[in-house]
Symmetry: C2
Subunit: 118 residues, 2 copies
C-alpha cells in the first residue's frame, strides 16, 4: 500500500473511522443489521439466529435505535408484539457490508489455499 496519506488526511480518516465504529463497532451490531436485512424482525428470532445473549441484543438494539439505524414498532396486542426494522439511514451501510463480506470471503479463501499448500 502506498503512503498516500499525509498526517492531516490520516487524522481525518481516523476521525471518520471513529465515527463509524461508534455506530456499528463491536461484535454484534453489523450481524444484527444483517439478520434484520434478511427479514428477521422479532427479538427472540434475532436472538436465535445470532446466538447472542438477551442482554447484549437489547443493549445493541437500543444503541442502533439511538443512532437511527433501527426502528422499533409496537403492535398493541394482546399479545403485545414488538418488531424491529432497518431505517432508510441504514442503507448507507450497504457498501460497507458488501466490502466487509467480500474481504471475509477473500481472507477465508487465502487461509484455505495456504492450508491446502501445507
Amino acid at each position: 500500500m502506498e503512503h498516500d496519506f499525509n498526517n492531516k488526511t490520516c487524522q481525518f480518516a481516523l476521525q471518520s473511522i471513529d465515527d463509524a465504529l461508534y455506530v456499528i463497532g463491536g461484535k454484534w451490531k453489523l450481524k444484527i443489521i444483517i439478520a434484520l436485512k434478511s427479514g428477521v424482525s422479532r427479538f427472540n428470532e434475532l436472538q436465535r439466529t445470532l446466538g447472542i445473549s438477551a442482554k447484549m441484543l437489547s443493549q445493541d438494539l437500543k444503541d442502533l435505535e439511538l443512532n437511527e439505524m433501527v426502528k422499533r414498532e409496537i403492535h398493541p396486542g394482546p399479545p403485545v408484539v414488538i418488531d424491529y426494522y432497518l431505517t432508510n439511514h441504514s442503507k448507507h451501510l450497504e457498501d460497507l457490508l458488501a466490502s466487509l463480506r467480500n474481504f471475509g470471503e477473500i481472507h477465508r479463501g487465502k487461509l484455505k489455499e495456504e492450508m491446502a499448500g501445507i
Copy 2:
C-alpha cells in the same frame, strides 16, 4: 432495506462478517492499518499517533501479523530498529476502509444537520 436475503444467504453473510471481524474487529486494528498506510512505521510513533496503550498495540500488531496484514522488519543496530509495514494482502481492505470512512462522514453530517435543526 428490502428483505433480499433468504435464510441461507443470511447465514453465509454472517459467516463472512465473522471471518472479517476476526481479522480487523475491535477498537484499534483498522486505525493501526490507517496509521501504517499514512507512513507511520515505528512502534512509538504508532502509539503516539493513535493514543493506544503499548500492551494493546503490541497485541494487535501481533494479531495483524498472524493474519498477514502487517509485516515486521528488524534492522539490526545498534540501535535495533523495528518497522511495521502493510502487506499486499492488506490491500484487500481498501474498499472496506473507504466505505467505513464514507459512512462515518455521512453519519457525522446527519448528526450535524439534526443539531442545526434543533
